[in-house]
């Protein structure tokens, strides 16, 4: 494999402009992330301290193996929902190491409204359990939640992908012989009680931990029975009488020590043997990514320059280098792991779609995980391309990609518009992990197109009503639509709604993918199989 020869001119004004714009963008991202992680009303922090509780991130720091990476997922979930009341969607999820084992972490964040579950909290917990199922990763739950946020109960309780799904996923994990541990630091009320109830192991802290289907006020309302929290569902009741929890702990530190020891008992499950080479850092510095990614969503750039700053030694074996050149396909190593990369270098044409489908099949047969690097405005439109069967060629790519058995990973490097999102393993296609860069935009079409379409509709409506042409009104429709649309296209809106597993600083992409690929190898490969390709 040869090193990619970079054509980047790091002295050019374009490079410097992009670099400055992206640095500003990263600073803003880091600021938002820092606020979502750490900024809390002082009274909430004081309340936790008074109860003898640690902050959720303090618990994590003690629980995880020192010096090992923790890949936090969706750190900005709910950042544009509930008027910012639920930073990080009131919970922390991620992939970390405990006693040398890779685990999924789900931690309630009791520093926000007592850890109440908002609709997006539920979505984020379900997503981390889906990750556990897809990658066969054990789960450690850090429970401390007041229960569902009642004013929004209709958005978090009844449907298929709502709260019930958490407990369904827990049951499926157990059936798959994937271990779960609950550390009960605070209350687990109503549905939340099933989290320790459905875990293989549960530790509960004396004094602050409690598990019950209904807390004292609800019990009193239902039956008139007057009972204290401890009598109803405290540590001693559950570890001595009911058997709902297994280990009593005198303090949070004690519970964490027990938790680490419990995980240490679990058998190491074998990973499948992905081809691996000695690790080599990329030849080109990662921070040059800032100078490549344009400040304008419409500007294209050479994805080879991105690949050169992600993969080992910047080495890349390009497949079909002279065919379907708007989709770059090829093999590389990342943290030593063999991967197949599909990266957009323009619009998808018939030949690029066919090349992509073919390369995906090769990777499936070769047991090579797929990494999709998206910057796509769609498949080519127009009479000539329809006549050549652009729809059925795109369908082949979607079929090959959907039915892939190897793990898939997607990075939203820039735009993701229209059907290109489908072919390139968008959210609907079960990428094991999907990350976005802060400059990313996503939508069925670009903002300008949508605003122009709606402004034209408005203009025709005015004409029908005989109000003639009101250029100012039409322009205001255009500007307002554009503004609203831009907000919905942004990476922050996408990550707020869990359309990805989190925003990454581009320079962290290599490390995040390394953790993700390693995690994915815990699930054995399924046999190959596809549907019917339309030829």
């Amino acid at each position: 494999m040869s090193r990619i020869r970079s054509n980047l001119n790091t002295g050019s004004s374009e490079f410097r402009q992009n670099y400055a714009a992206n640095l500003a963008r990263i600073a803003s991202f880091k600021e938002r992330q820092d606020a979502a992680r750490h900024i809390r009303p002082p009274r909430d922090i004081e309340r936790l301290k008074k109860q003898g509780k640690m902050l959720p991130r303090e618990r994590l720091e003690r629980l995880l193996d020192p010096g090992t990476p923790f890949l936090e997922l969706s750190s900005l979930a709910a950042n544009m929902a509930y008027e910012g009341e639920a930073p990080g969607a009131s919970c922390i999820t991620g992939i970390g190491m405990i006693s040398g084992r890779e685990v999924v972490i789900h931690a309630d964040d009791s520093s926000i409204k007592g850890g109440a579950w908002y609709p997006l909290t539920v979505k984020k917990i379900i997503r981390c359990l889906d990750i556990a199922i897809e990658n066969r990763l054990p789960v450690v739950h850090l429970c401390d939640s007041a229960g569902g946020f009642l004013p929004l109960q209709s958005e978090l309780f009844p449907d298929k992908q709502m709260a019930g799904r958490i407990f369904r996923n827990q049951s499926i994990l157990s059936k798959m012989n994937v271990k779960q541990l609950s550390l009960v630091f605070g209350h687990c009320t109503a549905g939340g009680a099933y989290i320790p109830g459905l875990s293989d192991y549960a530790v509960i802290v004396r004094g602050t931990g409690a598990v019950f289907l209904a807390g004292p006020p609800l019990v009193k309302a239902a039956t008139g029975e007057v009972v204290t929290v401890d009598e109803l569902g405290g540590c001693d009741l559950h570890t001595q009488v009911s058997g709902t929890c297994d280990y009593p702990a005198d303090s949070e530190s004690h519970a964490i020590a027990l938790g680490r020891e419990i995980v240490a008992q679990w058998a190491h499950s074998p990973k499948w043997a992905l081809q691996r080479e000695a690790v080599e850092a990329p030849y080109y510095p990662a921070d040059e990514l800032y100078g490549i990614v344009p400040d304008d969503i419409k500007r294209s750039f050479d994805m080879r320059e991105i690949i050169a700053r992600l993969v080992d030694g910047s080495r890349f074996h390009e497949y079909q280098p002279a065919y379907g050149t708007t989709l770059i396909c090829g093999y590389a190593n990342l943290w030593g792991y063999k991967i197949g990369i599909l990266a957009n270098n323009g619009v998808l044409f018939n030949d690029s779609a066919l090349k992509g489908a073919h390369f995906i099949e090769l990777c499936n047969q070769n047991e090579t995980p797929l990494v999709f690097l998206q910057n796509i405005t769609g498949y080519m439109v127009g009479k000539e391309y329809e006549a050549r069967g652009i729809t059925k060629d795109g369908a082949k790519m979607i079929m090959a990609q959907s039915c892939s058995r190897v793990p898939k990973f997607t990075v939203m490097c820039h735009g993701s518009f229209g059907a290109g999102n489908y072919g390139m393993c968008g959210r609907a296609y079960d990428a094991r992990f999907l990350f976005s860069w802060p400059n990313h935009q996503i939508g069925v079409m670009g903002g300008e197109q949508a605003a122009r379409t709606l402004a034209e509709v408005k203009m025709r409506q005015l004409e029908r009503e005989g109000k003639g042409q009101d250029a100012a009104l039409v322009d205001s429709v255009y500007q307002e639509t554009l503004k609203a649309y831009q907000e919905q296209l942004s990476a922050y809106y996408a990550t707020s709604n869990l359309w990805d597993d989190g925003i990454l600083d581009p320079v962290d992409t290599r490390n995040a993918l390394g953790v993700a690929i390693s995690a994915s190898l815990n699930a054995p490969l399924e046999p190959s199989g596809y549907g019917v390709f339309r030829f």
Binding site: M1, S2, R5, N7, N9, A278, D296, K298, R299, S300, H317, E318, P321, A322, T326, G346, V347, F349, T377, G378, M380, V381, G382, E384, G415, F417, M445, G446, E448, Q449
Partner: protein, 168 residues
């Protein structure tokens, strides 16, 4: 994998058999184990080829490596076999891969351009794409103007034909 080397106009394919712990390669039927020690303060170093140690200095310049081994100087061209397969156009005709509109022109007839330098920017399918010079040369004709629409395959810019040059 293989690397194609050019030395004094002759082309040789070197098959790389392994990089770690030391470089193992074959040229035709001969097999070599190559071991390099880190550079010394004078910028030179040592290279051991099948057990024989040589003093070496080298400078890399794009696809060309200049080597001083003992008292002899070599200038070796390196071609990546995949790059060779890419068959980039040398003709100097820049054509449209897809229909679109010109949004910026960065050259005019007579412009002296270097390989990789921007010639024009087009917009198609909501995306702006900059087309760069495939090689060094002088722009002979520009066939489009700003805001002009064009069809797939249209000739956009042409460079003057390359002068015949002897193989290096």
């Amino acid at each position: 994998m293989a690397v194609i080397l050019t030395l004094d106009g002759e082309t040789t394919t070197v098959e790389i058999l392994g990089r770690k712990p030391q470089l193992r390669c074959s040229v035709e039927d001969r097999y070599y184990v190559v071991y390099e020690t880190p550079a010394e303060t004078d910028g030179g170093g040592w290279i051991t080829v099948n057990g024989v140690r040589h003093r070496i200095w080298r400078i890399q310049e794009g696809e060309r490596v200049h080597l001083k081994i003992g008292n002899r100087i070599f200038s070796v061209g390196i071609t990546d076999p995949i790059d060779a397969a890419r068959q980039t156009t040398r003709s100097g005709e820049i054509r449209a891969d897809m229909p679109g509109v010109i949004v910026a022109l960065s050259c005019e007839p007579g412009s002296n351009v270097r390989a990789g330098e921007a010639l024009l920017t087009l917009e198609s399918m909501k995306m702006q794409i900059t087309l760069n010079a495939p090689r060094d040369g002088i722009v002979s004709t520009v066939h489009v103007a700003i805001n002009q629409a064009f069809q797939k395959g249209a000739l956009l810019v042409a460079l003057e034909p390359e002068k015949e040059s002897s193989p290096s």
